[in-house]
Amino acid sequence: MAKYSIQVNNKTHEVDALEDMPLLWVLRDILGLRGTKFGCGRALCGACTVHLNGTAVRSCSLPVSAVGDGKITTIEGLAENGDHPLQQAWEKLVVPQCGYCQTGQIMNAAALLQSNPHPSEDEIEGAMQGNLCRCGTYNRIKAAILSVATA
């Protein structure tokens, strides 16, 4: 066990954790930020996606000891009131079905738009392929991202 000081959603948190504990479980079990989901634990589904210094990372596969003083953003910190343009687009197009994958999808899409504000359809598909949706909301996800990217 070791002590880590990590920056999450613009706040510093002191956590006591095993050094190999993935950031996912630090967020969910220690900090109570449960909007970030667990789907595979092996960077295969994207449900656990958060931002590290603005880049999408799979928190299930990022040990807390590797976070350092990087800035973490979770779905809870993406926008005050949950009104990021992507979140609004998601609501407008009624993207979710069960909803479980959607916070990871939104975080991944937000990072994409930050690095590439006007992605093509192919670029969206490429960037989103790591995010599984078992309910099959892919086309609405793509439409929601496109609606923001072309706005």
Binding site: D29, R34, E91, C98, L132, R134
Partner: protein, 762 residues
Amino acid sequence: MKIPASFDGKTDASSTEIFKASRRDFLKIGGLFSGGLALGVSLFSCNEKGEKTATLAPNVYLTISSAGDITLIAHRSEMGQGIRTSLPLVIADELGADWSKVKIVQAEGDEKKYGNQNTDGSFSIRMFYKPMREAGATARLLLLQAAANRWKVSVTECDTQNSQVIHTTSGKKLDFGELVEEAQKLPVPAAANIKLKDPGRFTMIGKATPIVDLHDIVSGQAVFGIDAFAEGMKIAVIKRCPVVGGSVKSFDDKKALAVPGVLKVIPIKGPGLPATLSKPLSGVAVIAENTWAAIKGRDLLEVQWDLGPNATYSSAEDIARLTKEVARAGTVRRNRGDFAAAKAGAKKVIEHTYIAPYLAHATLEPPCALAVVKDGRCEVWACTQNPQGARDILAETLGIPVDKVKINITLLGGAFGRKSKPDFMLEAALLAKESGLPVKVQWTREDDLHHDYFHALSVQRVVATLDAQNKLTGWNHHIAYPSISATEDQSVVQPSDGELGLGATDFPYQVPAIRIETHDAPAHLRIGWLRSVRNIPQAFAVATMMDEVAEARGVDPVANALELLGEDRNLTFEQEMGKGKYPNYGESITDYPWEVARMKAVIQRVAKEAGWGKKLPKGSGLGFAAHKSFLTYVACIVEVRVEAGNKIVIPHVHYAVDCGTAVNTDRIRSQFEGGAQFSASLALKSAITVKNGQVEQNNFDGYQLIRMPESPKEIHVHIMENQAKPTGIGEPPVPPFTPALCNAIYAATGKRIYTLPIDLKG
């Protein structure tokens, strides 16, 4: 644990009774109610004379407070199908309510209070559409009466709109909230006096309504099973016996207990064989302060297993054995005419064997449940489709009365039938009892794929015979797969009537000779039901063979289906199967007939919308399939393009659907969009294989699902305008997509598909 009546048995005809709910009723259900109008909706089954025989759903509650807030206690589990939105909107529409003032409260699992909550078999809307309308209409009439009394006018001059009663001649208005106290004092009008809205005046039914949980979901506030939380909660992760029916011989927990944060290690006794549809598997649980410590501890456990009789089981060998088995004569389950004679007189015989693998549900949220067991009570929070089934078995297992067990239903992060089994809830409760701690059991993805209640593998052989005039004279369908029932009773080695009724024995085409035969296939895994169940393999075999039949006859596949469906009429199957052997999804065939006209209409519609018959460039093709399931008629046309390296691209999918009255068109569309993707996964990607009794896939690298780049691109859903009784939409999109895709691949490449998942290289 019972198999849902919706596909394996009978449900009774039901009627509704609306009653005024008292404060006592609300105390009983622990609901908040501090005045206003409160109605209970009771569903009861009745005999042919309409006499009440048993109460099915005593209490779905509708309340309107003096502030005008409308609350519906929703009693069905939400797993992405939108039921928490679609049932309440029916009430709101009948009532003339302002939708933004309608709140939905999730009911706990309690059969006495809420009736059947088993959210399975695509039947929530089918069962509750009418009662919801009647509840809304009753509340409306009470409010109209209260307003009419106050204004001293006739009720017929009053109407409701936007949560107000309006006096249509003077334009006077009163808010619902101002009328509720008076309305509550009025007697509940007799059922005969309740007038339902004319469908032409619907404001929400038949339109698109966004789901109520939308904002919570996109902002990360929605509470799924994995998010359940209790003070002092610990996490358990379990190492389960890798072979079904095996058990723990001994274990060494030294290394596990050395992991910081690990608190306890507790063995769980399994049922052995049969594995049952409810009980946990034999295993050893690690309870820890957090999920990571529990996972680490679990991985360090050293367990000696007694693997039991399934330890030599191989799915590849099973398929080889069943392939031989279906080549023989089997048990005849439906017979019309004389197939042997048809075959003897045939000019052409087409015969193929169809193989489909085991599938796992792979809900993106793996199973998980939180339990607190204290002072002779048990409270559980879980993503469950079947809270009551779980409640009963929890009470039985813990040895406490049912009313001491409380089940709280969270949102479900996908379910598809997996979360109708309570095994994970039992694990949590047993560990909570044993440890004296609040325990959340968390399944990892590996656990989920290794220990699912699998969709069974299947081998089928279909023989079709044509005479000299190219008429289809005979249809012989051989079927072999382990039955769901075998999970409870190992002596069951053949499919049940219920399973066969999902797309095999309800073969609707006019063929003079039909013989459907089944073969022995013992179960070696826990077999369960996956979205649309046996319709998946059965539609695959039937609808791809129909495409070959059309080709052999020299007839276009759509024209072939329309011709072979024959005259508009209602089909029955029992006379060729035996009385009571065709379950019709638990409904009587009189109430929900098999209407040829409706099937033909969806076929004609989809052909028109998809531009069936249009010329496509080389390497592209259209494929067609029609399949009725869960009482909903669906026809599907898939467009495929096969690119270099056998890359399959699906630019368009067209569905025409007749699900009776469309309640929420947006959720119908989304279920079809998702259903196509779900079917695309199993058609193109997914397979569970078993060696030495153990599942070979561990995570989403081995058990693959469709991802965005390869997913079907544009999914067009054409909803038939219809006033018929509404039927389900969760499962019916899945079965026809896969055979339509296979038929499209044939049109594009000339290659027929007989094995799933599709492998164009093979």
